[in-house]
Each structure stands twice: as C-alpha cells, then as structure tokens.
Symmetry: C2
Subunit: 251 residues, 2 copies
C-alpha cells in the first residue's frame, strides 16, 4: 500500500436544483475518474447523480452504492467499507473519485461515515469535502422567511418530534424539522398547542416543489423530502447589528 492515491472527494450537490451545485463542486466533477452515488429506491434515477452528470467527463465511471435500510451498525459498517473500497480503487488507479451526496456533505450525510471508512482503510488518503447547499437554506429561500435572525438560536431536529415542543422552544425559538414526512400530524398538533408559525416544504428547489402552512393537508408518511420550519415568535427579534461579535464585516 505504498502507491500514492489521487484525491477522494465527498461533494454536497445541494437540495435538488442542478444550479444549486457550487462552482467548486462542478470544477471537481469535471476532473473525476468515477463518481459513486447512493442508489435510490424504487428504480428512480439518483437525484444526486442527475445533478452531477452534466459536469462529468465523457469517460467517467458511474458507480452506485446500496446502503441498506437498517440500523444494525455492523451491516452499515460493511456497506460503508465496501463503498470506501470502490472509491479507493479509483484513486489508486490514478484518478480522483467523488462520492455524491444531496444537501451538504457534513449534515446528516452518509459521507461522514464513508470519509471515516476511507481513512481507516487508507490513513494516507487525501480526502476532501466540498460543502453543499442544505435543504433548510433552500426551503427558507423558497418561502421567503429566515431560518433565524439576530441573537436567536436555531435548532435542527432530524428525528421524530417530541409530543411537546416546550423544551425545544425554551432554548431555540427557531426549529427546523428535517425528514418530517412521517411526522406531519404530530407536528401540526405540537405547533397548534404552541401557537407557533409553521411552514412545510417538500421537494424543495425541484420543479414539483410544494409549500403549505396546513401540515395536515399532506398525507403523512408520503415518501417526499419534507422540511418543516417552525418559529415560536413570528415578530422579528432584536437584530444583530453589523460587526457584532467581533466580525469585521456584516453579512
């Protein structure tokens, strides 16, 4: 194992709109010898692959990885190791390889497990992560409503919501519920109890994007990318003025 490896990339390709790929992501894709994308269920084309494809060299190999729908750690570890070996094989043959991931590569992404698996197998590997646009940023843009302002914290909740949101909103008046498709009725109940503002977005940034403030209007459990933004106080908080916190530049 003394051969040097080409770089192995994890690329966040954004939430779905092909134009929400970064210039850096596109530049990396133009140089790769292979891309590895999670294989999607139900014979659909992989969305991450569709975003990447226009940028790939003509001779780029397209590999697909299957990550089983289980929480058994040993089974998943094996799947990550298998995928890591595929990336390493491409890099060992002298060309960069890239794993494609929807959204950002470091936020609830398989990439962080793969990255670790690559480095376990080849501690000498050069592994580079290219960040991507998160679904929540695209959802906030779509509804024209900030994720958070001023000094108010933001909580990102990727799991089933608790029956009461009180403990959550006591800490953070802004909450993003990710992968919320199965929890829309529970969220509707919790949000009504709070008197909070809530908006749900599914398939954000895609041509069939949909937005609703009636969370019960969508059939629960439907297999869509669904994000719910909750704000307990819809009046604007005290803003953080330019330069606060020791930054030289406002944004």
């Amino acid at each position: 194992m003394t051969d040097s490896l080409a770089t192995i990339y994890g690329i966040g390709v954004g939430p779905g709109d092909p134009l929400l790929l970064t210039l850096r992501g596109a530049a990396v894709l133009r140089e790769v010898g292979a891309v590895l994308a999670p294989r999607s269920a139900e014979d659909r084309d992989s969305l991450a692959l569709a975003i990447a494809r226009p940028h790939l060299p003509a001779d780029c190999a397209v590999l697909e990885a299957v990550f089983p729908m289980t929480e058994q750690r040993a089974v998943l570890e094996q799947a990550w190791e298998d995928a890591a070996r595929e990336l390493i094989a491409v890099a060992a043959a002298g060309r960069p390889a890239a794993f494609l991931t929807l959204g950002d590569a470091m936020l609830y992404s398989t990439w962080s497990y793969l990255l670790a698996a690559v480095l376990r197998l080849r501690p000498d590997a050069t592994v580079v992560t290219v960040p991507g646009i998160t679904a929540m940023s695209a959802c906030a843009a779509a509804v024209g409503q900030p994720l958070a302002e001023g000094r108010a914290p933001l909580l990102i909740w990727p799991d089933e919501p608790p029956a009461s949101l009180d403990a959550l909103t006591a800490l953070a008046p802004n909450i993003v519920f990710m992968k919320a498709a199965r929890h829309l009725d529970a969220l509707a109940d919790a949000v009504e109890t709070l008197g909070a503002d809530a908006v749900a977005v599914r398939r954000c940034s895609l041509p069939d994007q949909a937005v609703t403030r009636d969370l019960r209007a969508w059939e629960a459990g439907r297999s869509y990318f669904t994000t719910v933004l909750v704000h307990v106080d819809p009046t604007p908080p005290t803003p953080s003025p330019a330069g606060r916190g020791g930054e030289k530049e406002s944004k």
Copy 2:
C-alpha cells in the same frame, strides 16, 4: 407606483472561497444591473463583493450600504429602508438588482430584513432569494468532521454562550457557535467542564483559514470570522439508515 419592477435578488455568496458560490448565484450575477453589498469596516474590500465581481456585467453598478453598529431598532430600520430603496430604484429602471450576503442569505443575514423592507415599500416586487453555503458547512468540511449524524439534533448558537452548556447539550449533542471570536475563553471553560470535543475555525475557506483545538490559543476578541464546533459525544451515534423518515433516497 404602477411600473413593473425587474427582479430583486438576495444572493448568499458563501463563506469566502469564490468557488463556493452556486452556479445559480453566478448566473444571476451575470444579468444584474447593480449589486448592493454591505460596506466593510476598516476600508477593507467587501469580501462578498470580491466573490461576486468576476461574474458581474461590465456596466454593472456597485453600490455599498452601511448598516450601523447599533441595536437601536429605529436606526436599523432606516438603514434597511434606505438600502431597499436603492434596490427598488435599479429594478424600477428595468434591470435586476442583487443584495450580496456572506454565507447563506436566510441564516443570520441582513437580507431577511432587507427583503421585508422591499416588500413593505413595494408589495408588488418580485423578490427572490438564492441560498448560499453556510460558514458552518465549510468549517465542517475543513476539519473533516460532521456537523451532525443520524438522529442527533444540531443547535446553532449565534450569541454569547451561557456559563454552562448543560441545558444546550441535554437537547443537542452537536452545537455550532457562530461569531465566536469574543467568546473563546468562555467556550474553552465550558467545553473543558463538559469534557466535550471542540474545534475552532477562523476565516473558513479563505487562504488564511486557521483551525485549532486549543481555543485559548487565539486572542479573544480578534476581528475574525470564527466558528466553533462542539460535540459532546465524539463516538458516532446510531446512524440514520438510507430511506429512514420516509425519504425515497439516501444522501
């Protein structure tokens, strides 16, 4: 006020690396008649403007807005309204106008206030937000460490940290402290008490990016973009398998 307006954009230009602009951000910038950027302190070039400049048409006007360093709501409201009027004037003359913001346009950005000010002045305006790469995504990529995995929530804290992080970590084992330059010593104390893993990144994605796990090594209060990632349990949590939560596609 019956003239139709060209589109007014708020564009998140990412954390600093010009290549972390999106393809969509670059495409919009190629069409604008004017950009408005927050004027930076200390006579530095605006970083947001530097990122945008290579994409601007030759005849594009470059406007600068000053957002005073105050928490007085009335003063800030006036500044936002003045900036909104500048954007509206460009759009009324028939060309799209864009406000530039570092990071994402909907996460602790002046854009959310400007957007509201534009719509107060011209409810008929077409206002479009283009999401951007957040500093936290770029920081996680830089240190090769996920923001969050599996079912574990993520808390984003833009303000002074509390003396004890117990209430925060009880809810979310992953915390991002933004604009943390002035709070590094306090964070070091809190993190040591917890026995948590912490890493600080400043000027993320820029040529002089720096990373440290010794939070006290950096002079507190230095005017840098500084983000601190804290994880209370550095062992990997139970992963979310592909397809969990009703999504059709793993990422």
